[in-house]
């Protein structure tokens, strides 16, 4: 990002890697704790799961059979896996645009200095973000309950529906309900991202526009939006990756039900590995293969994000 990248002096006379490592041995010693933690908790599980994905193994006994890519072949033919994969994609596509749009609208409103109590509103909107998922799951189960839940009371009372709606118990509605809960919980974070983006618009631009007789709406449309547009790529991708990691919310509300109707990728992996339906066995090898495939999908998205961020930085105002 900075021009300092070009100012790095040329390397000194080259010596052997071993010699250089030995010369800086004390420096490298300081890296050891970090490397150990990274290795034990990130690198090892990743490599291990790739190995497990090639095994027929329950994860709980010593009987491990190497089956090559059989797990992968079976997965691609497994309608539960395919459904869960597309459900994750659907969930991301349903939540991210809505979350970004809502976050942007709220940020633009709350960025207005003239708005009194904007700090209070920001805090209120951010409150669901810091509330534990388990608490939200319990509260939402009560709120959305078809049995005297306040939301059902409200909509039946207002005559919008004849009978109480089972938001979390209906296979047709459950994903929409979860998407709604998710957007409600996480819009605060998107709003904070947008607010940060809005801080990059200097006050003088608003003032110059005011002197020019440009209306607030025109300033937002023609000045602010084009300036913060490059941030949309980054915010969108961060939101998308977080929407793919929705396991805690779904596990705490529906556990993937009813009838697997809310089983997204992560819930599928968890169920296959640790909580199989009664009468079947856990399949850690099979679940690992699903994890690897899902991981590859997320990695693809992450690479896309890195490329997009680089592109955005190049296009960012002031970087020329």
């Amino acid at each position: 990002m900075s021009t300092a990248d070009h100012d790095i002096p040329a390397a000194g006379p080259r010596t052997g890697l071993g010699t250089r490592l030995w010369a800086h041995r004390v420096d490298y010693l300081f890296l050891v704790p970090g490397l150990v933690i990274f290795g034990a908790f990130i690198l090892w599980p990743m490599l291990a799961s790739q190995y497990y994905s090639l095994l027929d193994w329950s994860g709980f006994d010593s009987r491990r059979i190497f089956v090559g890519l059989r797990n992968y072949r079976e997965l691609l033919a497994d309608e539960f896996f395919v459904a869960a994969f597309w459900r994750s994609v659907w969930f991301t596509l349903a939540t991210v645009p809505l979350q970004m749009l809502l976050g942007l609208v709220l940020a633009v409103i709350l960025n207005n200095r003239l708005l009194k109590l904007s700090a209070v509103f920001r805090t209120l909107i951010f409150l669901p973000v810091v509330t534990p998922v388990a608490v939200i799951a319990i509260v939402m189960a009560l709120m959305l309950s078809p049995f005297n839940g306040p939301i059902n009371d409200l909509i039946t009372g207002a005559g919008l529906v004849q009978r109480a709606v089972d938001f979390l118990g209906s296979p047709q509605l459950v994903m929409w309900s979860l998407a709604g809960i998710y957007v409600w919980k996480w819009t605060g974070v998107t709003m904070i991202y947008w607010l940060a983006a809005l801080q990059t618009v200097p006050d003088e631009l608003y003032e110059a526009a005011r002197l020019d007789g440009v209306t607030g709406r025109q300033v937002t449309m023609y000045v602010v939006m084009p300036i913060i547009a490059p941030f949309a790529v980054v915010i969108g991708l961060i939101s998308a990756i977080s929407a793919l990691n929705v396991f805690p919310l779904i596990q705490a509300t529906t556990q993937g039900g009813p009838f697997f109707a809310s089983e997204v990728m992560e819930v599928f992996i968890f169920r296959t590995a640790f909580a199989p339906p009664s009468g079947t066995f856990p399949q850690l090898g099979y679940a690992s293969a699903a994890g690897v495939l899902f991981g590859l999908a997320i990695m693809g998205l992450t690479i896309l994000q890195v490329l997009a961020v680089r592109r955005t930085r190049r296009k960012e105002p002031g970087h020329g």
């Binding site: 020019d212 025109q218 023609y222």
Partner: protein, 348 residues
């Protein structure tokens, strides 16, 4: 084109009064510079004229109209910001024409005005460039262009040269001075903390301190007849020398003729002449060779640092013992710091 009048203007931020009753009359076509140290309220005053800050008390008139309650866009003022305030995603032409277009002006008229402004500011080759592809000086010219296309009654400049390097600052200063002539002597109000900018650009300087006007007048009037110690010290480079007097004598007891009851004697660096039997003695501490002048900073027997100007080429060395006559104009100030030798008062 019209003048600007400020009548008993005040401004408070919460409990803090930052502008404490300011009266200024800026004539039509005048180039008026507000100058003063940081925090004196000069930028606040400019923003109040623009309408970007509300006025707490008093009246602001532009072209004889009271504008206190008018929206910034209706005041007939255009402002050039220190940071240029250019829209980074628009090219030069769009930056200059944006305000007009948003106000529904016909495209042909907007284009005509943009072309005209670009011609005046020599920006024609850059019309399709984005601000980031321009130098600081060019960006500031675009900001000025954006003001010109509006054909305002008053141009307001808020420290427009502060973000430029020394060389560009001098060049852009000259361009602004030329522009004042080119634009049919439009009224310009210019804020700076740099007294050199004030001296070189202004028809009229308003010296501000702590939310009050210290003195108003043409640059040379302020230079020759400062109304008080503050103005005397602020206007002119190097700073005026001040010597505390006690019963008509300098701190080392050397008597100074015709000082009356004055408490402070002021004289500029160029008022000192080297003289073997002059009343003012000192040891040279630093010599500054500026090419067209030599400034010798010397330490008096009572330990005060003063400065004297010499003709170019004069050989002076640090450590040299010198004596001076105060041959040029002298300024006398009373115990309150007010000038005694002329009936000067801070007034328009």
């Amino acid at each position: 084109m019209s003048g600007v009048t400020l009548r008993n203007v005040t401004k408070t931020f919460g409990a803090v009064k930052v502008i404490k009753g300011v009266d200024i009359e800026i004539g039509e076509g005048e180039f008026c510079v507000f100058v003063g140290p940081s925090g004196c309220g000069k930028s606040t005053l400019l923003r109040m004229i623009a309408g970007l800050e509300e006025t707490t008390g008093g009246d602001i008139e532009i072209g004889g109209r009271r504008v206190n309650d008018l929206d910034p866009k209706d005041r007939g003022a255009a402002m050039v910001f220190q940071t240029y305030a250019l829209y980074p995603h628009m090219d030069v032409a769009r930056n200059m024409g944006f305000g007009l277009r948003m106000n529904g002006w016909p495209k042909d008229e907007v284009d005509r005005r943009v072309q005209e402004a670009a011609r005046i500011l020599q920006l024609e080759p850059y019309l399709d460039r984005k601000p980031k592809a321009l130098s600081g000086g060019q960006r500031q010219r675009v900001a000025i262009g954006r003001a010109i296309v509006r054909d305002p009654e008053v141009f307001l400049f808020d420290e427009p040269l502060s973000n430029l390097d020394a060389e560009l600052r001098v060049a852009t200063r000259l361009e602004i001075a030329k522009l004042h002539g080119t634009l049919g002597n439009s009224t310009m109000v210019y804020v700076t903390h740099d007294q050199v900018e004030a001296m070189t650009l202004a028809d009229k300087i308003v010296v501000l301190r702590d939310g009050r006007v210290e003195q108003v007048g043409p640059p040379m009037e302020l230079y020759r007849n400062p109304a008080n110690l503050f103005v005397a010290g602020f206007i002119g480079s190097p700073k005026m020398n001040f010597v505390e007097l006690s019963s008509g004598a300098m701190p080392d007891g050397t008597p100074v003729a015709q000082t009356g009851t004055a408490r402070t004697l002021g004289f500029r660096a160029d008022a000192l002449r080297r003289s073997a039997d002059g009343p003012l003695a000192g040891t040279v501490s630093v010599v500054e060779q500026l090419g067209d002048a030599v400034f010798a900073h010397f330490r008096t027997p009572w330990g005060q640092e003063l400065v004297a100007r010499f003709d170019p080429g004069t050989e002076i060395r640090a450590g040299e013992e010198l004596r001076f006559d105060i041959a040029g104009p002298r300024h006398l100030f009373d115990a309150d710091g007010q000038a005694m030798d002329a009936a000067l008062r801070p007034a328009a």
